[in-house]
Amino acid sequence: MYVAGIDIGSTSGEALILEGERIAGWSIVDTGYSSRRAAEEALEIALKRSGVTRDQLRRIVATGYGRVSVEFADQQVTEISCYARGAYFLHPQVQTVIDIGGQDSKVVAVGPGGKPLDFAMNDKCAAGTGRFLEVIARVLQLELSEMGTWALRAKRAADISSTCTVFAESEVVTLVADGVAREDIVAGICRSIARRVAAMAARVGVEPPVMFAGGVARNWGVVRALEEALGHPLMVPEEPQIVGALGAALIARDGITS
């Protein structure tokens, strides 16, 4: 029995095909201008990789910012529930999952069975999200994928005081003009994100083990900074970006068996 989970965020969309307990295949696409188009594309690619056809899917659950656009889904569920469920599947001992996405970040306290117990979200402000890193990467003329490596080379993380992405950008320009090393600036940005997210996490209450998911979890500079800010080591899945789609697929499967 095959089911699918689709997670459409503001910057990327993911789809995952599940057969029982086995992940048959998954995909990541850019969301672009159309959530619906991205959902179709992500699903097609995931099906192809799984060797499964659309007809074989028993149930589809959509989540994420663009979930209401996925009209062909059988159910829409928020990413809070999906992240909790997906994290629990990957590590049943997990107590807290943190997701930093392209434009939002969230912290979910995970209860028995992967049910969310509490959560906090930031989706009003780019500071503390992947967008912050994107903006700064552009200023520093770095690839986003390199930011983590640069951060780990820092000797002394620069102090970024602005609470706003726009102002932080101009602050970074000043730091560059003052001759501050790029790696130190990148490390400062990672630390700024980590502190913001850690403060949000504290409102929910951080219980270890803590999983870090979402695209920004690929950035080891943020991983290290977040571990330092939280005072706990982080579990980072091999594919941190598909945790939401995984959770959606599991909820789809649960919907059939119940």
Binding site: Y65, T78, I80, S81, P116, L117, M121, K124, G205
Partner: protein, 401 residues
């Protein structure tokens, strides 16, 4: 009053041909009468006040109260918040201040508010409510009296506030030429107690399951609680509401048909048209069994000691003092109304209500009550984004279901 654009809109809105519940006619009538007294008549002095100065005092002294906070909410419901907020920016009020007070400032500056003969405010609950009224009074050259309210609610605090109420009456005698008729104040106390008893009946009726009343329809309760007591309309209003609620319970016909989860709503609700509550109630079946702003917090007033009673009413408001008072009240009401969760609407700029949410959340969590915090604005629609709030509400309902 009808020369004032605000007054005209008010009349239109209140008399609009939408279906009205019986108690709505009473409240519309009451607010029209208050508006007439404030805008159109010079028979009685008009005193601007924050909402926590007891209304019994005004009605008992023959004064027409004008509550800028309440009228800012009313203006928001009539689509006038953009005017109020933008005008307040032109005055120089920083944008991070609460929009209730900024909007009031803007509406005052736009000459949409009635005349002011004097100002009064309590210092408690909200820092800038009193500040704004003192600002208006200063600019208008009118006298202002600050009722300094301590955080304690013991006998010494009551004595302190009661002594100030005596001075306030003296101040109004000199400034406004009113006469202090003890019998009239006692009558206001009696009327207040009668309304209080009826309001408590409503509170008991609302324990029924399913919840007989729709929480979104109780948005204006704070205005009733803070303006009607001491006036005959208070009795008529709560009588009508009691009868209406009792009928709903007896007939088994709740206002909200689809109810999955019972909730306790904390703090305010958007005064402007917003789909926020309909998402919660109609789409997701979240039933607001009780809302914090409907909670009648004071003991029966003693007409033999009117000023001490009113002082006690002032200091005993559970928003005053340490957060534990508000938290324990929340837990009592959550249990009473069998609520499975609580939602706190954090109005932007309201430091007193949102400042200690960390403690509130922790306490509720220890008692097994999940709390959802919604960041929004009850006056300025541009400051309330439905999309992110919808996700939070949906996630919360998924948690509770």
């Amino acid at each position: 009053m009808l020369r004032s654009p605000l007054g005209l809109r008010l009349v239109r809105a209140l008399l609009a041909g939408r279906p009205q519940k019986p108690h709505h006619y009473v409240s519309a009538d009451f607010f029209l009468e208050m508006a007439r007294g404030a805008y159109a008549s010079h028979a009685r002095p008009v005193v601007w006040s924050n909402i926590f100065v007891p209304s019994e005092l005004f009605w008992g002294l023959g004064i027409v109260p004008f509550f800028p906070e309440t009228w800012a909410g009313l203006a928001a419901s009539m689509g006038l918040s953009a005017l109020g907020v933008s005008q307040s920016a032109a005055l120089g009020y920083p944008v991070d201040l609460c929009t209730v007070h900024r909007s009031a400032a803007g509406l005052w500056a736009s000459h949409l508010f009635p005349r002011m003969d004097a100002g009064v405010a309590t210092s408690h609950i909200c820092d800038i409510a009193g500040q704004m009224i003192s600002n208006f009074a200063f600019t208008e050259g009118k006298p202002f009296f600050l009722l300094d309210v301590p955080q304690s609610n013991d006998g010494a605090a009551v004595d302190y506030v009661a002594a100030q109420l005596e001075r306030l009456i003296e101040h109004w005698r000199e400034a406004l030429g009113i006469s202090f008729d003890t019998d009239r104040l006692r009558e206001a106390i009696r009327l207040s107690n009668q309304a209080r008893a009826l309001a408590l009946e409503v509170a008991s009726l609302r324990e029924a399951q399913p919840a007989p009343l729709r929480g979104s329809g109780m948005r204006d309760q704070l205005a009733m609680l803070t303006a009607m007591f001491g006036h005959p309309s208070g009795i008529r209003y709560y009588q009508a509401l009691r009868d209406y609620t009792a009928r709903r319970v007896a007939d088994g016909q709740p206002e909200q048909a689809h109810q999955r989860v019972r909730l306790y709503w904390m703090h305010l609700m958007p005064y402007f048209e917003s789909a926020l509550l309909s998402v919660l109630e109609d789409e997701l079946g979240g039933a607001i069994a009780w809302e914090e702003i409907s909670t009648l917090w004071w003991d029966e007033l003693d007409e033999r000691e009117p000023l001490r009673s009113l002082a006690r009413k002032i200091v005993s408001l559970f928003f005053n003092g340490p957060i534990q008072r508000r938290t324990e009240m929340a837990l009592r009401l959550i249990r009473r109304y069998h609520c499975q969760g609580a939602i706190h609407f954090s109005h932007w700029g309201c430091r007193q209500s949102a400042g200690a949410l960390y403690v509130l959340r922790a306490r509720l969590r220890r008692e097994g009550v999940p709390l959802l915090v919604l960041d929004g604005d009850c006056i300025d629609p541009s400051n309330l984004q439905l999309g992110p709030l919808r996700t939070r509400i949906e996630a919360f309902m998924e948690m509770l279901a």
